[in-house]
Amino acid sequence: MSRRARLLVFLVGGAAVAALFAIAFLDMPHFGRSDHLYRDLAVPAAVRHATANVVSSVNFDQRAVDTFGEETILIASVVGTAALLRPAREETERRIPDTGRTLGATRLVGYLMLPVSLVIGLDVILHGHVTPGGGFQGGVVLATGLHLLYVSGSYPALDRLRPLELFDIGDGLGAATFAAVGLAGIAFAGSFLANMVSFGTFGALFSAGTVPILNVAVGLEVFAGIVAILAKFLDQDITVVKEGSE
């Protein structure tokens, strides 16, 4: 299809979608209204299970099976990316020298912020059932924090601090823990992913039953998964070369 024909098809289709959107939006419940049926059901359910962060309760307790599905998408994408980006037959990996071309200040800030961001990431995961946060956000923060080492110009240091086999295992381990907690729910409470640990005090670190456990499992999986993905992209950019070139 030529570019013009493609644009024409899009304009016709897009105009139809826009018209349908307009009809639907004008008839939708108003923005900022005060009646929310799901909210009225979800909040008391979270309070019953002593979960102060209702969003975490929805994710890891009330709709935990849905999150398990999302997690499976995540691990499938990680595996797919790793498979697509592995060095091809005619490519080899080379060792690169430590090129210290970074500004001293950048390097210093990178090294100083590394432990800070790792601690923040852990805090976000561990308190995910009480304050805003959880495994998904904390995992991303941890993975980003680790790559401050790359920003500070030391790819070899990042490479040493990041045994990739361990991260591959960590990714699977996170998903397996999630499934194991679900199966324990069948064994002890009669249904998959049932919240069967004692709930504790509302707002305390030890509360919300299985929610913090699942948070840690997801945090591990997201952290390991994103580090593994970024490692593959970094390898493609830095270490993988076609044989015969250079």
Partner: protein, 87 residues
């Protein structure tokens, strides 16, 4: 609807359009991370701190890094291909 919401919604719309209108991917990295930040601000204004945290970490850090690395790998590959064709 408060002024903050109107402003952040407008910014999201403008930034999203800017991302699409930027034709070179290496420049899209900049516009996309700005778009991620405006989305984060909007989510905060919509009383969704969990979502904002997730959006800022992904949209302003992980995604731009992946796009940048992809573009660099592609340029390297094209260069190697051209060198091979020349020889």
């Amino acid at each position: 609807m408060t002024a903050l919401l109107v402003l952040s919604l407008t910014l999201v719309g403008v930034a999203g359009t800017a991302v699409v209108a930027t034709s070179r991917p290496e420049r899209q990295v900049v516009t996309y991370s700005l778009f991620g930040l405006t989305l984060g601000v909007l989510f905060l204004a919509l009383q969704a701190p969990d979502v904002a945290l997730s959006q800022i970490a992904v949209g302003a850090a992980v995604m731009p890094m992946m796009i940048l690395l992809t573009v660099r790998t592609m340029q390297k590959d094209l260069k190697q291909r051209r060198e091979k064709d020349d020889s």
